[in-house]
């Protein structure tokens, strides 16, 4: 679609938010059935097949796919689950490992040739994940601390003079129940959205000045565009990994906060 809009215009046009709109996959398909939805499902299937082949028939001495699976498992357990969930870490590993690997794969789709779309740059996908974590967080908090106890622990940190609570309790309430799940989803979405836009911009610069309108003066700019595309692709892979890690880490943090009140 990039190339079509570029060919249609006579001047260079930077890619805008329209690069996130996709038509239905084929003529007569329902409007929601587009490329991001297709690859969201493909990503989920790849994660299922990968986990199945890694752990369905585990050996004491891991070989092949099981090796890679165990590296991922140990990473999530030691860096994400244990610091926040302590002895409950193993119980929550299925959720955290699934969330981490699916989001990581969806993010990496942003730099996989021909796919080239980070699924989480459509906010519906991270919003569903953050919403799910939010519901589990509320359920666990009310189950483990009681309905009133949960809100009391959340809004009234102990050992303060009473008037201070009037000032602080609304901030705690808004922060924990509304802002936290919102930023949880937006952090992933915004990083993927901006990353995709940056990659699209630099590759469009390279394509336009080297292939569409090759001029002696513009060629240097085109080369710069290509170099920046390569550099930003490397940077994006780092960000894609970091955001998947952060999303899982914050999920573990919210669940841990509900399981063990801080004071």
């Amino acid at each position: 679609m990039d190339t079509l809009t570029l060919l249609a215009a006579d001047k260079f046009q930077a890619p805008g938010p329209s690069i996130f709109d996709f038509p239905p996959l084929y003529a007569g398909a329902p409007a929601w059935l587009n490329k991001p939805v297709l690859f969201a499902v493909v990503g989920a299937l790849i994660v299922c097949v990968f986990m199945w082949s890694a752990f369905a028939n585990p050996k004491l001495v891991p070989r092949g796919v099981q090796n890679i699976g165990e590296i991922g498992y140990i990473f999530v357990r030691d860096q994400v689950a244990r610091p926040f969930l302590g002895k409950d870490a193993e119980r929550w590993m299925p959720l955290l490992l699934s969330v981490f690997s699916l989001i990581l794969l969806w993010n990496l789709f942003g730099v996989v040739p021909f796919v080239q779309f980070p699924i989480a740059s459509h906010i519906a996908f991270p919003a569903i994940f953050a919403g799910t974590i939010y519901v589990i967080k509320l359920y666990l908090g009310i189950k483990h601390q009681g309905f009133l106890g949960y809100f009391k622990n959340m809004m009234f940190p102990p050992g303060l003079p009473k008037p201070i609570y009037v000032l602080l309790a609304p901030i705690e309430f808004l922060s924990n129940l509304i802002i936290a799940p919102f930023t949880h989803a937006v952090r992933l979405f915004a990083n993927m959205f901006a990353g995709h836009l940056i990659l699209a911009f630099f590759s469009a610069v390279g394509f336009w000045f080297l292939f569409e309108k090759l001029t002696p003066l513009g060629a240097g700019l085109g080369v710069l565009g290509v170099i920046m595309t390569i550099a930003m692709t490397g940077f994006e892979i780092f960000i894609q990994f970091l955001q998947a890690f952060l999303f899982a880490m914050l999920a573990a943090m919210y669940l841990g906060g509900s399981l063990h009140p801080e004071h």
């Binding site: 244990r82 610091p83 926040f84 940190p157 303060l160 000032l167 602080l168 609304p170 901030i171 705690e172 808004l174 922060s175 924990n176 509304i178 802002i179 936290a180 930023t183 880490m249 914050l250 943090m253 841990g256 906060g257 801080e262």
Partner: protein, 71 residues
């Protein structure tokens, strides 16, 4: 901070907790108290209530982070 010895993981957890809860506390502080300031300014016509509310909210949010993680 409690008297009993803390393991390094717990320090790490505390640090991460603090670091990641700061933005949502700051936002919430500004929304709650800046929002109240906005309501007051609409009610009384004194526009100064908006910045007063915003700054009070940020200050309270920083104080809250200190209370929960800094003591």
């Amino acid at each position: 901070m409690s008297e009993k010895e803390r393991r390094p993981e717990e320090d790490g957890r505390d640090f991460a907790d603090a670091a990641w809860s700061v933005p949502s506390y700051l936002l919430s502080g500004m929304l709650v108290w800046g929002g109240l300031g906005w309501l007051l300014s609409r009610w009384t016509g004194v526009h100064a209530f908006i910045p007063i509310g915003l700054i009070l909210g940020v200050a309270l949010a920083v104080y809250l982070v200190y209370l929960k993680h800094g003591r």
